[in-house]
Symmetry: C2
Subunit: 334 residues, 2 copies
């Protein structure tokens, strides 16, 4: 096990200075502290032993540009609550750590965790190309990623719903209702989960013997581009159902279809993903693939606790559920 002496030797400084850096003492320069923490991490020193602070601490890292959690109608609110419901009775102090790309560029994930004396993290909302996503490939402090999958690092786990199952349920349901021309509308494929759902669409179509080629999906970063470019194309192609990568795209698609003179669901069925709190209140109410967010939070804690106890969970997926509402119905007779 790495000691303070090892870190001091490596940097050729005194043990006292290392100790100051690890304890956030005010009389040490930021540059030197950063150097000491990075060296500590490099030597495998990932846990502070601050006896004066006996409570074990976990953090929920929220990528603040991508995901919201503060209000009950925000997507991650229930995820945070589910995590706390498990972690706090188990004796952990849970802090929320909002980060953005600038924080990630300034400090590595392991150093951040060491600096703040966190034993493990539950990370929400990371896109594929962010700096810490690279850190997670080799990081040593346990981290559970919601909807992101790191291959080959036993200190990471992936928690989410089974999106392939969700897509399968949606397409089986539409096929039962007589739909054969089903399109997929997606934001850009810049996150793990958008890639998973995109592949799942084509797999499920094939599994049900329904035709689909690349033109049956439309992916653009901007919602506006999806509505202006892909949606009219789908309608021209005679699609009778559109599955959307997330509920916000689905609610926009409902509005746009109605404006173009199509009735929902008589002319076209729309299905979303996630079942966010607004879904029962759209007009018509939106059929959606549910993620049970309380359960996701609880599973996040379970996986993190396992990693911290050297039980190497890599992937934990919850069953998806299709919540049927009025935005979907029988295929129109042609």
């Amino acid at each position: 096990m790495t000691t303070i002496q090892d870190i001091a030797d490596k940097l050729n400084i005194s043990k006292g200075t290392v100790s100051k850096a690890l304890n956030n003492a005010p009389d040490i320069s930021e540059t030197l502290q950063k150097q000491i923490l990075e060296t500590a991490v490099e030597l495998g020193y990932t846990k502070l032993r601050r006896y004066k602070n006996a409570r074990r601490r976990l953090c929920i890292i929220v990528q603040r540009d991508n995901i919201q959690y503060k209000e009950p109608h925000h997507f991650a609110y229930d995820i945070v609550m589910g995590f706390r419901q498990m972690a706090e009775p188990a004796g952990y102090e849970v802090e929320i750590a909002p980060v953005d790309i600038h924080v990630q560029e300034k400090v590595s994930y392991d150093v951040f965790m060491l600096q703040n004396d966190y034993s493990g993290a539950f990370a929400l909302g990371f896109s594929l190309n962010e700096p810490w996503m690279k850190d997670f490939q080799t990081s040593r402090t346990p981290v559970v990623l919601y909807d992101n999958h790191i291959v080959g690092n036993p200190n990471t786990a992936y928690v989410g719903i089974d999106n392939a199952e969700g897509m399968e349920l949606a397409i089986a349901y539409l096929k039962d209702l007589g739909h054969e021309k089903i399109a997929y509308l997606s934001s850009a494929l810049g996150s793990h989960i958008m890639q998973v759902r995109y592949r799942a669409f084509f797999q499920a179509m094939e599994h049900h013997g329904l035709y689909a080629d690349d033109s049956w999906a439309g992916c653009s970063y901007f919602l506006s581009e999806c509505m202006e470019k892909h949606l009219p194309r789908f309608l021209d192609m005679g699609m009778t159902a559109i599955i959307c990568c997330q509920d916000t795209f689905a609610t926009a698609a409902i509005t746009q279809c109605k404006q173009l003179g199509f009735r929902i669901p008589e002319d076209i069925s729309i299905i979303g993903f996630d079942d966010i709190p607004v879904c029962p209140y759209t007009d018509p109410p939106l059929t959606s693939v549910r993620q049970d967010r309380i359960e996701l939070g609880k599973s996040g804690y379970y996986a993190l606790n396992s990693l911290m106890n050297q039980v190497s969970i890599g992937t934990l997926l919850l069953h998806a559920q299709l919540i049927r509402r009025e935005s979907s119905g029988p295929a129109p007779e042609l």
Copy 2:
């Protein structure tokens, strides 16, 4: 909730007779008992309320034709042990229920569970085409399947290692050692896990920019056919490494390669899957992708307990580990 009265009404018999059937009374014919149990299951009556037998009971269903568990060197021994280590301290009685195809044909899974008063099952060793695999698509009694995946039934969960990650680790390792011509030797694709590993081989090869077409894999039910037909073909093709679907095939491949005058690992590297207890003792010791079987058993209990508490875990995969031994080494210089 379904009552004994409901079952009696449906069959137009007395409550006393239903009660006798549910309690395994000796003075009731086998045919009538079977009819009563099937009706009970059909009506959603999946839990007996036998007050005289207060202990909650779980079972580990072992497909006895496919998997062995009785001796420490058997594959499922540690899986069973890991499951017991979690379930028994939690107050469950755990029984092993060996079944074969004949048992499955005689009685449905739900009826079997009701008959024996089991609250949930951990099922090991099922092939895709067995009768209960069909039952699991709609069954109501919680079941966790080791290495089998049922899509769309929230009363089932899949537990295993991440085989795609295992394949990825094996191929990354071989590529680092200079191998480019890597073949995959497999038994028939009649089980979920054989299909998963087969697909994972081609995905990982593609991911690493290595060429592979269908002829780079050889799959046959009989070990003998793999050794006589596929292995010599791979050697003719100039393969420098062979990944095998399981350790028994890998150890046979080592022997066969040596008999054909090839040195392991100087001429050809061999890697297995599972890391069964014999691997350190083969000649040379076998590099293999490990399944931690104690952890698999513990995860099986965790997933089952979650299902019984309406937390709908669908998939729980443990990280794979590559255990490097002497059956693999640098690619030969050509």
